[in-house]
Amino acid sequence: MKLEVGYIDIKGIRFGDYNAVEDGILIVNPEPLLEPVLEDPLIKSAHFEIATPGESIRITPVKDVIEPRVKVEGGGGVFPGMVSKVDTVGSGKTHVLRGMAVVTAGPIVGFQEGIIDMTGVGADYTPFSKLHNLVLVMEPVEDFKQHEYEAAARLAGLRTAAAIGELARELVPDETVVYETPTIAESFKEEWKDLPRVGYVMMLQSQGLLHDTYVYGVDAKRTLSTLISATEVMDGAIVSGNCVSACDKNTTYHHQNNPVIHDLLAVHGKKINFVGTIITNENVYLDDKIRSSDWTSKMARYLSLDAAIITQEGFGNPDTDLIMNCTKLEKQGIKTVIITDEYAGQDGKSQSLADADELANAVVTGGNANEVVVLPPLDRVIGTLDYVDTVAGGHAGSLRPDGSIEAELQIITGSTNEMGFNRMSAR
């Protein structure tokens, strides 16, 4: 598949009485954008706020981060099966509003939502502090069912991002990059025959109604491991639908900008032969874990891989899936590198993963989620601080009287991302 991605750099966001992108500035008229959001009977109220890098702003609780994109040429539309109808994406031309994101905020599950600080120590730990954020703050009706409201909030974010992305349809990109993925036959061509055949195994969180990922609109836990083109992922074929801890949640933005995919494509045909991407799930049911990891290893063999990179989302019982995928590939002679994060205790001395195997001997860490940070008080809060004491990584007393927060890195959205999207690691 061949996808031309046109990046339009966004340098600021402001409110106005029309919606447009002019000279790199996104102008937002909230009313027409909020109308479809408020049509959902589960959403009691919704409004937009703007957060600019360097401002003294704390956004919490964060649900998802989404990059606005629009399909300009080629089949399908962004977020197929969710916002656009189900149709194969990943070919043609896509425009991206780079340097900004739609952030959805508001309470869903009290202990699993995160913080984005736009300045200070906290800002260093999240990649999203560097973006111009249009924050969609939503409040549910009373007595809502969390999984139903999660779906409502998820769709509201994706629809808003798609509507903003639509503003970029006719714009001239600041930069254009062409991404191309080979067919299996092409991957065997003569000039690449001496390059190692490398695949990417992307594990998708799929443990339950509040721990799910959707592929072309399908709940990943109801799928078998399968192949997907890197360019399909860029067009929003995979979206986040979960409320796992903030630090290692793969937001929709992470999927759209998957760094493993981008880095592998950057060296494809030069250092390695990037043959393909396998997506597989992380289910609770043990036979599902066995079946999915068996299937992953069968597909890796089918693709004649020499090596694979495996990424994860979440922790605890997904560590079992991670180790199953790793060992089953290694036993077939396929070298693996795992990207994960650690829960090694505040002193870093405890066992990092909930599962382990001696074949998992090449691991890249995204950092220790238990590391303690103190976030200074900031001038303005978008959302609410009501949950700071109870989110993963926080505790009773986390929120101090002066507005500062003492908590573990778990609390910061994207801080220990298991795709390696952030800057923390260890040697």
Partner: protein, 150 residues
Amino acid sequence: MIIGELWRLTPGGEQETLHTSKFQIVTNNPMVAEALGERCHIVFLEHGSDRDVIETVRDLVHRHHRVLTAPLAGSVKPWETPYRSVMVSVSKGTAIDATSLELVEFALMVIGQSRERLETTKPSIDRDFQTVDLSLIESALPSVEAIGRI
């Protein structure tokens, strides 16, 4: 393989079948007990700890039942959530299932290593922990119910 139907004697001495499900759930989560009690047998450990749940599962494994869902919490650390639910087969094998035993022993080790649970301050957060635990175990239902026997 014998499917262990669960039954009780009525006051009139009749044998009444309670559940014919192929699985049972060991839990300390009242929301699971309430939501799934009509669908399968629930071993409800009211006010029990996560360790109590896993130890009860281990006892069942010693009696040749098989563990059907991952006993480690899913993306919620043991010291954060007080709730745990594990699905176990109703039927018994002829010997201890080695994989099941390995899983529960490993889960007990992880719980043993974890630090003391921090107090959550709000009843609404307690309900959220119950909801996520219920959601995790509910996600296994289509898989377990898709096959006629375990």
